[in-house]
Amino acid sequence: MDFMTILQLSDSSLRLATPLLLACLAGLFSERAGIFDIGLEGKMLAAAFFSAAFAYSSGNVWVGLGIGILASVVLSLLHGLASITFRGNQLISGVAINFLAAGLTVVISQTWFSQGGRTPALTGDARFNEIVLPGAASRIRDIAQQEPLGQVYSELLSGHSILVYIALLIVPLTWWVLYRTRFGLRLRAVGENPAAVDTAGISVVGLRYAAVVICGVLCGLAGAYLATGLSAGFVKDMSAGRGFIALAALIFAKWRPWEALGACLLFGFLDALGNRFQNIELLTLFSLIFLFVVLIGGILLLLRCISVLRGTTSVRDLIGPAITLVVGLVFAIGFPQLDPDSGLATWLSSVVLPVQLMQALPYILTVVILAGFVGRAIPPRAGGEPYVKER
């Protein structure tokens, strides 16, 4: 495991985390306003198809992006209609939207393109191309000859499509909107206690529709990135459960934007791992996972330190990330030090995990995280319940 491999893994983790992150933030807006949204998956899928279809026919990816977002918002409004206006079951509505998107995307693409439920491959301006930051190398051969810091800059930071950078910018933006604006305060209040918001003379219905539309826009970005950034065209069922993983990441992140970034990076990493190592030895897998735990623990600790310095968090909140960091460090350093001839090491490197297990890893981890082994997550109190103005 050399430095370049780790860099490449981190690079593809970031790419694969982007759609998760966008969908996760979409869910964050919706659920913070008290509307559960199982339909993230369907909205992503619809946006992926429509963005690819219109990017192909117009030759301009921005047109595709616009139409993709529009399609996602339409499905969002349908969810809003069912769960806000008609006070229906939000889970059932979300499930219906997932099936609707899964069916309609294939039916329409078959009618328009007759390619077995996929769109033609996108080229040139019809997809989001990689942006090479100033001073960065783009060819692998050039990157390999750079200094380590230059390699990080060229491989990890440079060379992503614009939506990756946008997604990363939306994290602080979400934080700012939620915690520093009047709209954000009301949005959070409507998810906790809609009756209080109503008493204050603010429209619960209006706020919830606003949240649902924001959710649609973000899901649209996520879907468009899938079809026009991550790959070049739409393929049937290409969202592959990312909408649900994003929901799990949201719970893991306890409905907070910065934590959502960390959670999505973790899932993106697992995805990248499964893609790169088809048959991985247990030993390599363990050292990689602990390396990542160090990374996440470190970032969390840094962020928490900043907020402790600003007086918004108590020092006690540092304990969790610190323990994560130390445990991760011990194992990450310990594993490569293991005597290669010892029983444990030979056993660990003799066990080769089957490729199917690697592909199921993000799903298994989702269950593990949901099982709450990582801490208690308390959802917004009014989540999932329709608001009845007068009983």
Binding site: G88, N89, F99, V367
Partner: protein
């Protein structure tokens, strides 16, 4: 509650919702695909009910959907949303293959008994983990069951590539089950109705009907069923009445998983007679629409399953006759049925309630 007569609540509203869903599907066919929706409907109905061949497939699919529909319905009674029927059926298929391939059965009835037990145990086991996590740790059962669907799909690929393989063949399927496990099909026990020996309809259809009666007895005639329904209506009230929420969550989900798993009797032992990669073919998800449409009542589930059996078989015929209409159109119809009968229920219910109220004032 008594704004409407009971028949309106049970029959009229689901009927209107389904008609609305079919109407919306017709709009999709007309405006997006550009085919005549009435002709499409005629082809589907004819393809499903026009011949013994059609009936055979329609009732075969119906059998699948009765099992999964009942499974989802039992969970619904406890207000649990089991989206994992697909995965539970996959894993149950492995159970069916184990039962058929490992033991040389002297007679199909013994094999059927073993397969029934093993599929329900495997299905229930796959539902047990999400159920436990929901009951004990409060993890969202919708997300965990969906994750278990994905995990089951991976497991299935692993099993068919590494354990149940056909020597010297690249096909991802198990070897064919021995002749003694062959279930009598409608061509053998009901040839007087015109069924051929190639029809997929087999005796497990009757097991599905027995299961429907069993679920009715369980839900409305036993103490456990009462506890499940009480828990579904109000968890706090149920707990106050001394009902153990963890026990009810577990039991309801285990029964649900077992019923979804029993779908494999029909599809694996009954039809393909080998373990194939995609034998579930969306039946677990159709179960959701079937349970919603049938109002979680076994009779309603059976009729809704018949409707979806018709859509599946008719849809296959439609794909032949009108190549522009792809098979995924069924998924769209299914989604619209779930949307209208489930999520948009109040859209139909509110105006109907007003209508009945105004009738009553006049009368």
């Amino acid at each position: 509650m008594d704004k409407m007569p009971k028949w309106a609540d049970i029959l009229l509203i689901p009927l209107i919702s389904v008609v609305l869903a079919l109407f919306a599907s017709g709009l999709v066919v007309y405006f997006i695909i550009g085919e005549n929706p009435f002709r499409a409907m005629a082809i589907m109905v004819n393809g499903a009910f026009g011949s013994a061949y059609g009936w055979g497939y329609t009732l075969f699919y119906t059998t699948n959907f009765i099992f999964t529909g009942l499974g989802v319905a039992v969970a619904f009674h406890a207000r649990l949303f089991n989206i994992g029927g697909e995965g539970q059926a996959y894993v149950a298929g492995i159970g069916a293959a184990i039962a058929c391939l490992l033991i040389p059965w002297p007679h199909w009835s013994l094999a059927l008994l073993a397969v029934t037990i093993l599929t329900s145990v495997f299905g229930a086991a796959w539902a047990a983990i999400p159920a436990y996590l929901q009951a004990k740790r409060g993890s969202h059962i919708v997300i965990t069951t969906i994750m278990f669907n994905f995990i089951a799909a991976s497991l299935m690929i692993y099993v068919l590539n590494n354990i149940f393989t056909i020597p010297g063949s690249a096909e991802t399927a198990s070897v064919r089950f021995p002749e003694t496990t062959h279930l009598p099909n409608a061509g053998e026990f009901a040839s007087f109705l015109g069924f051929r020996s190639s029809t997929p309809l087999n005796v497990s259809f009757f097991i599905a009907l027995v299961a429907a009666v069993g679920v009715w007895l369980l839900i409305w005639r036993t103490r456990l069923g009462y506890e499940i329904r009480a828990f579904g209506h109000s968890e706090t009230a149920a707990v106050y009445a001394g009902i153990n929420p963890i026990k009810i969550t577990m039991i309801a989900m285990l029964i649900s998983g077992a019923l979804c798993g029993m779908m494999a009797i029909n599809a694996v032992q009954g039809e393909s007679e080998q373990l194939r990669l995609d034998f579930v073919a969306g039946a677990g998800f159709v179960g959701i629409a079937v349970a919603l449409m049938g109002r979680s009542h076994p009779v309603g589930v059976c009729f809704a399953a018949l409707l979806f059996g018709m859509l599946y078989q008719g849809g296959a015929e439609l794909a032949f006759e009108m190549p522009a209409v792809s098979r995924e159109m069924i998924l769209v119809i299914q989604a619209l049925v779930i949307l209208f009968t489930g999520a948009l229920d109040n859209m139909v219910r509110m105006p109907m309630e007003r209508l009945f109220l105004s009738f009553r004032r006049e009368g």
